[in-house]
Each structure stands twice: as structure tokens, then as C-alpha cells.
């Protein structure tokens, strides 16, 4: 419907304006590492973890040289998938469960 199309366009605009895709990063690479995120990272399967480390290394290198990737290599909004999200959700769910039990 028209309303959600507009929301989608705003989202895409904001994603590009945030700029981390110019370094070739995905959204889950730039999450602030609090305790939940740290625990979720421990549970990542090896191939996803290695890809994440590669992207961060490449981004650090570019930032050091004050460069960005050529436009065709920027991460596209449609291709960005939230790889950490299922693990993060699980960790947060477990933490809530623990807190609920401890309150009882």
C-alpha cells in the first residue's frame, strides 16, 4: 500500500545517509557491542564470523587511509541481511527468562 512504500523509501534513504555501507559494512557489523551482542557473537557459526571480521578489517583499513569503496562495491540496502539477529534475539530471550525466574 502507499503508506508502507513511503516508509520503505524513508528507510532506504536513511540507510544510505548513515554511510557505513560506503565502507562495505552491514548493519550488524556496526552494532554497539554490549553484553548481549558479545554473547550472540560467540554463537555465530564460523563462516559468518569470518566474513564479519573481514568486512570490519577492510573498513578499518579504508578509514585509516581516509578512503571509501568505489560506488559499485557499496553494500546495497536490499542485500544487507541481519545475520546476527536470530542469535541476538535468542540471547535476549534467555536473559529475560533468567530475570523472570530470579524475580520469582
Amino acid at each position: 500500500s502507499g503508506g508502507s512504500r513511503l516508509l520503505e523509501r524513508i528507510r532506504k534513504w536513511y540507510y544510505n545517509a548513515a554511510g557505513f555501507n560506503k565502507y562495505g559494512l552491514m548493519r550488524d557489523d556496526v552494532l554497539h557491542e554490549d553484553d548481549d551482542v558479545k554473547e550472540a557473537l560467540k554463537r555465530l557459526p564460523e563462516h559468518l564470523y569470518n566474513e564479519r571480521v573481514f568486512r570490519i578489517k577492510r573498513a578499518l583499513d579504508l578509514s585509516l587511509k581516509h578512503q571509501i569503496l568505489p560506488k559499485d562495491q557499496w553494500t546495497k540496502y536490499e542485500e544487507d541481511h541481519r545475520y546476527l539477529e536470530p542469535y541476538l534475539k535468542e540471547v535476549i530471550h534467555e536473559r529475560h527468562e533468567r530475570e523472570a525466574w530470579n524475580k520469582k
Binding site: K42, R43, P45, E94, E97, R98, W101
Partner: protein, 445 residues
């Protein structure tokens, strides 16, 4: 209606002529059903305030192959990991909250997951038990975190030299299956993956190899639970290899001043008539001290060896029965310089029995000791659950204690002598550990 004895007390008839104590009449309480998919359900309603439910599975270290050794050990430790219905945290806290306990007991051939709790909370713990046995998830990070537990488990086991000797005995006596160690080998710690655990469970935890046993719970409840939840994997899974006895010897030279040595030959299969004969022979020869710090007067082995040495020693008959083989022999603990005399004297005692040197009085004493040991082992609810469960797995029936006692009584002295002959003439296997300078090899015996 709650009674506090394990079995419902039989109605005692008030006849003045009954003087001797008779064993209680054949128990009608234990009900057994076998579902069409092969699952056996057994229950004993004894109206006790605490219930104990167990899932017995015909699997164990014998069903491993050389590529996945140690999987059964890790599985034993993995009973509290996350399942599809409950997270690991919830299983632990949930069972603790109702005052129950979940434990796993595994032998080479059987794994038993059992929960016990107060009668009112049976539903809660049953849910966790079923989750653990039918739908574990083995999340990779939980499995890796658990591998360090393998080392702790092994360290605790190694404190007992007997454990090491018995592992080596099985490795020496068999070519496969039963030769697999109960404890994960060192090179496999840290390498067992979640996929291997999943594969092991998928191929072994099938309905036709499981038995659901309960004490203090109604048969209809168990049956309903079993039909609804326990028929996920049908078929008989991966069949285990037939154990092939080979007869070898393994010696482990350590600096211990005590030598532990076990010498066995192939024994009887579980449930066969020979098994009873071997059990009686075990008690004729002496199966451990009956009086603390006593002198084991009725043990032929101890008396025979005591004549040859004044140093401290211990010797007893060793007997295990598996579903397709068994081991029977002697287990001797002696000071390192005396090992040769002790072992030779012990074996001579068995030879004496094989040549007919056993009286009917000896056999009767042994039978009484065996009966007493058996009956006392099923007095606790844990022992009774294990007994009902193991028997349901093997034969799908239940032998009442009085029937078992009768079977023991029917062993004749000639059977005992034959069993001893079988040991003397059979191909021997040996395992020894300690300072083995004066310990004989198999060919010197």
C-alpha cells in the same frame, strides 16, 4: 491413599501354622505393555509419595564406531542442554523448583534417563524428561562448552584404578563393540561435534529400543504419555555390531605399589540359564566382603590366597553379562612383589572348583548370598527402577523377586562346576596395572 513402603504390603493370612518367613507372593503390581512400535511401558503403582520415572534406551558405548568414540560419554553429560521445548536454564531451574532430580546412568549397552520427584509434580518433570530424550537441540556453542566437562569426568573416574583396569579388560577381551571405552578417549575430547551427537541420537533412540518405566505412577498415565510423545522415531535404528571375543592382554605399567589385575574368560549371556550358574559360582568363590573388616570366611578365593601370603590383598570373582556375551573371572589387588603368588593361588582355587571341589553346603551358602544381594538391590526405588527397566529392554517382561529367587535355587552344583570348567578351559583375557615387575603374563598362568 499413600503408603510408605515400596511394595504394597501383601495381605497376611492369620494362620497359626505359618512359621517360616516366606517371600511375598508373586507381585501382580507391575504392569507391562508393549506398544506396536516396539516401545515397552512398565509401571508399578505402589502409592508412595515420591515417583520415579525412567526412559531406558538400548544404546551405549558399544554402538559407537571408531570414528565417533566418546559420543556416548558426551551424551551422558549432555542431559541438561537446551531442547526444543525448554532452554537449558529452564530445565535446571524447573526441575529444582519442584524438588526433583534428573540423572543419566549409562553402561556399555543401556542408557537410563531417570527423574524422581514428588507425586504431584510428575507432569512437570515428565515434560522435561521427554524433551531431553526426544528433542535435544545440541546447540554447537553448548556442546563445545560441555567438552571441558569430559576431562573432569575422566579425572574423577581415574581416581579409582578399578575403572582403568576394567576399561582395559574390555579392550583386551573384545575386538569391537564391547571393546569401546565408557569414557571418551583423550584424543577425542574437544572434537565431538553437535552433528555426531544428533546422528547418534537419531540412529539409536528409536521406539523399538526404548522402555518407559515408572514407579509410583498409574499405568494409564504412562501409556498415554508414551503414545503421544515417545513414538517419534520408529524402526530399530542402527544395529550394533556383534561383540567378538578375542582374548588378549593389556598391561599398564605405573608406579603404584598396588597391582590391580583382572583375568577373565568368556562368560554367560544375560538371561541365559548359564548366567545364573555363573552368578552362583561368583558367590561360591567370593564376591566382595560381606562383613566390614571381616576375614571373608566364606570366600574360597580369599581363604586360598591367605595361605600363600601375609601381605594385604583382596581378591574376588568378577562377573558381567551383556546381551550377546559375558565375562567371568577373578579380580585381584595385591602388593607389587606378591602379585604372582596371589594371582596363581586365586586361579588354583577356581581350578579346584572346576575339578569338583565344591560341596552342596557351599553352593547353598552362595545361593543365599546371591539371593540376598539381589533382593536388597531392588529394595530401593532406584534399584527397582533399574531392574524393571533393564529387564523390559532385554525381554519385555518382568520377573518377580520370588520367581528370580526360584531360578537361583534351581541351579545345581553340577552347573556351578561346569561354569568353573568353562572358565578354566576358555581363552583368557587379562588386564593389569601397577608396578608389574612380578605380575605374570597370560602365557605363564
Amino acid at each position: 491413599k499413600r503408603f510408605y513402603s515400596l511394595k504394597v504390603a501383601p495381605k497376611v493370612s492369620s494362620s497359626a501354622t505359618a512359621e517360616k518367613v516366606k517371600l511375598p507372593p508373586a507381585s501382580q503390581d507391575c504392569e507391562i505393555t508393549k506398544l506396536p512400535n516396539g516401545l515397552v511401558i512398565a509401571s508399578l503403582e505402589n502409592f508412595s509419595p515420591a515417583s520415579r520415572i525412567g526412559v531406558f534406551i538400548k544404546t551405549g558405548s558399544r554402538y559407537e564406531t571408531t570414528s565417533n568414540l566418546g559420543t556416548a560419554h558426551l551424551l551422558r553429560l549432555a542431559s541438561n542442554l537446551t531442547t526444543k521445548g525448554a532452554s537449558s536454564f529452564r530445565i535446571t531451574r524447573g526441575i529444582e523448583a519442584v524438588g526433583g532430580s534428573l540423572s543419566v546412568h549409562a553402561t556399555r549397552e543401556t542408557m537410563a534417563y531417570s527423574v524422581e520427584c514428588l507425586r504431584d509434580y510428575v507432569d512437570t518433570v515428565m515434560e522435561y524428561l521427554l524433551n531431553v530424550t526426544t528433542a535435544p537441540e545440541f546447540r554447537p556453542w553448548e556442546v563445545s562448552a560441555l567438552q571441558s566437562q569430559l576431562k573432569v569426568d575422566k579425572a574423577i573416574a581415574r581416581q579409582n584404578p578399578q575403572v582403568g583396569v576394567l576399561e582395559k579388560l574390555h579392550a583386551a577381551a573384545y575386538k569391537n563393540a564391547l571393546a569401546n571405552p565408557l569414557y571418551c578417549p583423550d584424543y577425542r575430547v574437544g572434537k565431538i561435534t553437535s552433528e555426531q551427537l544428533h546422528h547418534f541420537v537419531q540412529s539409536n533412540f528409536t521406539s523399538s529400543r526404548m522402555a518407559l518405566v515408572g514407579i509410583g505412577i498409574k499405568h494409564s498415565t504412562l501409556k498415554q504419555v508414551a503414545e503421544q510423545f515417545l513414538n517419534i522415531r520408529s524402526g530399530s535404528g542402527v544395529p550394533g555390531a556383534k561383540a567378538v571375543y578375542r582374548g588378549g592382554e593389556i598391561r599398564k605399567q605405573t608406579g603404584d605399589s598396588l597391582v590391580h589385575a583382572a583375568i577373565v574368560a568368556e562368560g554367560a549371556v544375560v538371561g541365559s540359564p548359564e548366567a545364573n550358574a555363573f552368578s552362583v559360582l561368583q558367590y561360591v568363590l567370593g564376591a566382595g566382603p560381606l562383613v566390614k573388616r571381616g576375614s571373608s570366611v566364606t570366600s574360597k578365593l580369599v581363604q586360598g590366597v591367605a595361605k600363600t601370603t601375609s601381605q594385604p590383598f583382596d581378591v574376588s570373582a568378577f562377573n558381567v553379562n551383556y546381551s550377546d556375551s559375558g565375562l567371568f573371572g577373578i579380580y585381584a589387588i595385591s602388593q607389587a612383589p606378591n602379585a604372582r603368588e596371589v594371582i596363581k593361588a586365586a586361579l588354583n582355587q577356581v581350578k579346584a572348583v572346576a575339578q569338583g571341589g565344591v560341596t552342596d553346603a557351599d553352593v547353598t551358602t552362595a545361593k543365599n548370598q546371591l539371593k540376598a544381594n539381589y533382593l536388597m538391590s531392588v529394595e530401593t526405588s532406584k534399584g527397582l527402577l533399574n531392574e524393571i527397566g533393564s529387564e523390559s529392554l532385554v525381554s519385555g517382561t518382568h520377573t518377580s523377586p520370588s520367581a528370580a529367587a526360584q531360578k537361583i535355587d534351581s541351579v545345581a552344583t553340577a552347573d556351578v562346576v561346569n561354569a568353573a570348567k568353562k572358565f578354566v578351559s576358555g581363552k583368557k583375557s587379562m588386564a593389569a596395572s601397577g608396578d608389574l615387575g612380578n605380575t605374570p603374563f597370560l602365557d605363564e598362568l
